[in-house]
């Protein structure tokens, strides 16, 4: 089974990959590139721990083939902060203690950024439905909602 050559942009860096035809983007990110911030919670698109964006669109990396990202722009949790400056969503997640174990957190942050780029002023209900694809088993979501609303407010004001 010969591998497929893929040229893609990951977090702004042009990247070349050789992927198996059945290799998911999640496997390519984690096992080939060691970008392990993107987590696997289920492998079936149910938990959202592997949320990344593909040309700005939110996807589960476990449901995308590595070969599909040829010529596309991938953004992962590792690309959210600007060098040593955290993104405001990351800061607000920390300030609101909106994580306990932290394993869903990368996916929540990536999904939130995608939401706020589409809708800078979401209602609590809109946030809850947008994040319904990102399971968190620790927090009961309360502090995550607070963090997202606070981040949205700060980003609107900025």
């Amino acid at each position: 089974m010969s591998k497929i050559h893929v040229t893609t942009t990951i977090n702004g860096d042009e990247t070349e990959l050789l992927v198996r035809p059945d290799e998911t983007l999640l496997e390519a990110l984690r096992d080939d590139l060691r970008l392990t911030g993107t987590k696997e919670g289920c492998g079936t698109g149910d938990c959202g721990a592997c949320s990344v964006t593909l040309d700005g669109r939110l996807v589960c990396a476990c449901l995308v083939l590595g070969a599909e990202v040829d010529g596309k722009d991938v953004e992962t949790i590792e690309g959210i902060a600007d060098g040593e400056n955290l993104h405001v969503i990351q800061t607000k997640i920390l300030e609101h203690a909106a994580l306990q174990c932290g394993v869903c957190t990368p996916g929540i942050i990536v999904a939130t950024k995608a939401l706020l780029e589409k809708n800078p002023d979401p209602s609590e209900t809109e946030i809850r439905y947008w994040l319904a694809g990102n399971l968190c088993r620790c927090t009961g979501y309360d502090k995550i909602i607070n963090a997202v609303m606070d981040a949205a407010a700060e980003m609107r004001g900025a």
Binding site: E40, Q100, C101, D142
Partner: protein, 761 residues
């Protein structure tokens, strides 16, 4: 010792020695950013599956498609011959177990001659890639003779039931129960028959709960490397790497010193990561292959072959006077937790009536074996099930006698001096204060909109201490390195850092807390039983006190005065007594800098088997709507009241209460293992085993009370587990009042509620 193996509670456990001293806190009670936070919001934090090693192989396990079967033939020769396969193993590769734990845990991980549950592993391979490993599993030839199975608790307990494993009957089990009954426990006091005779109303009901799963988002993962000298390293996600070391060493016949276990960051556990499922297999494959082996479970494997909860069937009878005084109470708890014995039913039996001050009470329980995976702890193991039954009957009594649910609970509430049904006499506890806070809260007095109903429930958890070591090093620049041995599952590094900073009188930022591997610190009991903030906190405070005492000695030496004439105030040594004012206070930085010439490095440490974990109570209020057309329940308001003793970092205490409530809401309304007629699990994924998502839940408000635990220097009680106990009954009581039918089984999924409404006619 895992919590599974805690059979009895020390008579004195609820009445600990007086460690607590009131004080004004500077750091404790504030809300600093957690020290591991940046790694966790940037993707840098390393979880179980994030470790790679040179030459690493991929390990995979072959699992039974049957709930109960005899292995007629198991031939691995074709898999072994496949290019790229470097090792193949079966249970025959494990040596004879040294003890019961190694025997049962090892057997649960890999079947011998019989498979005992759907998903029971029969063999494992290590190969150069995942694709080769999967192909190798297909080449393993297994012939099964399918045997009759039993997965339901009520079926398994009956005489004539399919017997899961011969010879497991416990001698204490009375006649009338099947040979699957591996454990029996009872407790109580007083004359219950006389008590029931005094009652104006007696309600007796039976309840069932489905088995649920902890549902941590991170599947189990490990990387093992064993050399030809028998020395090994293991990296894994676990709630307790010392327990992993003990279990792996026991199963593999190793000396514990030869195995070093490093805990990764942990992506949730809730009790489910207190044992091992893949680690001994990875170690054995690594030994055979001579290369590192990584095993990562799929989500399906997590559901089928880890440690879900017990399912339960419980009878509760409570007698009450017209004015709401309980005259007698009994419970009979039947728990099944898979094909191996466990102690969870004991905790259910002990906790059933722990919230009440009763003259006559009897609580009994039986554990029964089934063809299911070996249950593991799940947040207050055993307690939600028993409490659900008791608190549901309490609500029915209140409804029938037209009594206020909180007033009635207050009338019967346990308090300091109450002899609990499970034996101990309580020290200072906070249940009365919690009930009063709930009664006074705007939630309880808010008018109910049409179609909305309200439910109330108490909850209790023992809390736990256990073996603990902490080492606190003063660096030469005056900063502090705190070494503990418990994985940080929800902010415990922050809590330890805060307690060290508080005790030493230094800034939070001056302390860095690290979690040591098993070779770098003495034994630490697993992160369970809500023990860490209590027990590791206690050891941290005492390690800091040891360091302070040494720093005072160094200052005394420098000043040439008696060490007793030096005290520690605000991060400085100060001369006291008749020397007061003679010397400038000596700050920690100077003592640190001078330490090489005043006696060497300064390290405070503390080792203890912590006792005095104060018991914990909670009260939950819930408002909800039920759609009579669909049976769908919408929770619209939720408030948690819990006694934290002292909330070290209030945000993370709130988070524990909210998370526990959310899991309890899931247990009440949606979650449950669904088995087919073949005894196989039909919903091993997050699509069909539906944990609450963000759009399912309302705001979960929290009210933290601080009734100091006498057994901790700052008054801390564990807070991790109690929050999952009340939701089952609180939601049941609200649904029952809403639809006018008393509900008696979980989960109350829309079809179950529809059926109940229809049954009303």
């Amino acid at each position: 010792m895992s919590l599974d193996n805690v059979p009895e509670h020390d008579e004195d456990a609820a009445a600990p020695a007086g460690e607590y001293r009131p004080r004004d806190f500077k750091v404790v009670g504030t809300r600093p950013l957690r020290p591991d936070g940046i790694d966790k919001v940037t993707g840098k934090a390393m979880y179980g599956a994030d470790f790679y090693a040179p030459g690493m192989l991929v390990g995979k396990m072959l699992r039974s498609p049957h709930a109960h079967a005899r292995i007629v033939r198991l031939d691995t020769s074709k898999a072994t011959a496949l290019p790229g396969v470097k090792a193949v193993m079966t249970a025959a590769d494990f040596p004879a177990p040294r003890n019961i734990e190694a025997k049962d845990v090892g057997h649960h991980i890999m079947a011998h001659d019989q498979v005992l549950y759907d998903g029971h592993a029969v063999a494992a391979v290590a190969a150069t890639s995942e694709a080769v490993a999967k192909q190798a599993l297909k080449l393993i030839d297994v012939e099964y003779e399918v045997l009759p199975h039993v997965v339901d608790v009520d079926e398994a307990v009956k005489p004539g039931a399919v017997i899961v494993r011969e010879g497991q009957r416990n001698k204490k089990v009375p006649d009338g129960y099947s040979d699957n009954c591996s454990g029996w426990y009872e407790c109580g006091h007083g004359d219950v028959e006389a008590g029931f005779a005094k009652a104006d109303l007696i309600v007796e009901r039976s309840f069932k709960t489905a088995s649920t799963h902890q549902g941590y988002i991170e599947p189990h993962a490990c990387l093992a490397s064993m050399g030809p000298d028998g020395r090994a390293d293991l990296w894994c996600c676990t709630q307790g790497h010392y327990g992993v070391r003990r279990m792996c060493a026991g199963i593999l016949g190793m000396e514990q010193s030869q195995l070093r276990v490093t805990a990764s960051e942990i992506g949730g556990g809730f009790g489910g990561k207190t044992t091992v499922f893949i680690e001994p297999v990875a170690l054995k494959l690594s030994e055979k292959a001579g290369r590192p082996v990584k095993i990562v479970m799929s989500r399906e494997e997590v559901f089928r072959a880890t440690g879900p909860t017990t399912s339960s069937s419980t009878d509760v009878k409570i007698g009450m006077t017209r004015d709401g005084k309980i005259t007698a109470a009994t419970a009979m708890c039947r728990y099944e937790g898979g094909a191996w014995d466990n102690w969870t039913v004991n905790m259910g039996v002990q906790s059933a009536f722990a919230s009440y001050d009763l003259e006559a009470v009897k609580s009994q329980g039986v554990n029964v074996l089934t063809n299911r995976p070996k249950q593991a702890a799940y947040r207050a193991p055993g307690t939600p099930q028993a409490t659900y039954a008791v608190e549901s009957v309490m609500d029915e009594l209140c409804q029938k006698l037209e009594l206020d649910p909180i007033d009635t609970r207050l009338k019967n509430a346990a308090r300091e001096g109450t002899k609990a049904a499970y034996g101990p006499t309580y020290a200072k506890i906070g249940l009365v204060e919690l009930l009063e806070a709930a009664k006074a809260h705007p939630h309880y007095s808010a008018p109910l909109e049409p179609g909305v109903s309200r439910g109330v429930s108490n909850g209790f958890w023992f809390n736990f201490g256990g073996e603990t070591c902490v080492s606190l090093a003063l660096n030469f620049d005056g900063t502090i390195t705190l070494i503990e041995g418990n994985p940080d599952i929800g902010g415990s590094r922050a809590a330890m850092t805060m307690m060290a900073a508080e005790e030493l009188g230094v800034a939070y930022e001056k302390v860095r807390t690290l979690v040591a591997d098993t070779a770098s610190l003495g034994h630490n009991e697993t992160t369970h039983g809500s023990r860490v903030t209590f027990a590791v906190g206690l050891a941290t405070i005492k390690a800091a006190r040891a360091a302070k005492a040494e720093m005072c000695r160094r200052a005394a030496k420098f000043w040439g005065i008696d060490p007793d004439a030096v005290e520690w105030v605000d991060g400085c040594a100060r001369a006291t007594g008749h020397n007061a004012g003679d010397f400038e206070p000596m700050p920690i930085e100077k003592i640190a800098k001078d330490s090489p010439s005043t006696g060497g490095p300064i390290v405070g440490h503390h080792e203890v088997t912590a006792e005095g974990a104060g018991v914990s109570f909670g009260v939950h209020l819930v408002d909800l709507k039920v759609d009579p057309e669909t049976g769908f329940t919408e929770v619209v308001r939720y408030t948690v009241f819990q006694d934290a003793g002292k909330a070290i970092h209030p945000s993370y205490v709130e988070g524990q209460l909210q998370g526990g409530a959310a899991q309890g809401i899931g247990w009440a309304l949606n979650e449950g293992y669904i088995y087919g007629a073949d005894g196989c699990l039909q919903n091993p994924g997050f699509l069909d085993y539906r944990v609450p998502v963000a759009s399912d839940l309302p705001r979960i408000d929290t009210v933290i009370l601080e009734i100091p635990n006498p057994g901790h220097p700052y008054g801390v009680r564990g807070v991790g587990e109690t929050g999952i106990v009340p939701p089952l009954a609180a939601i049941t009581n609200a649904v029952s009042r809403n639809i006018g039918v008393r509900m008696n089984a979980l989960p109350m999924s829309p079809p179950a509620i529809r059926a109940a409404i229809k049954s009303k006619g």
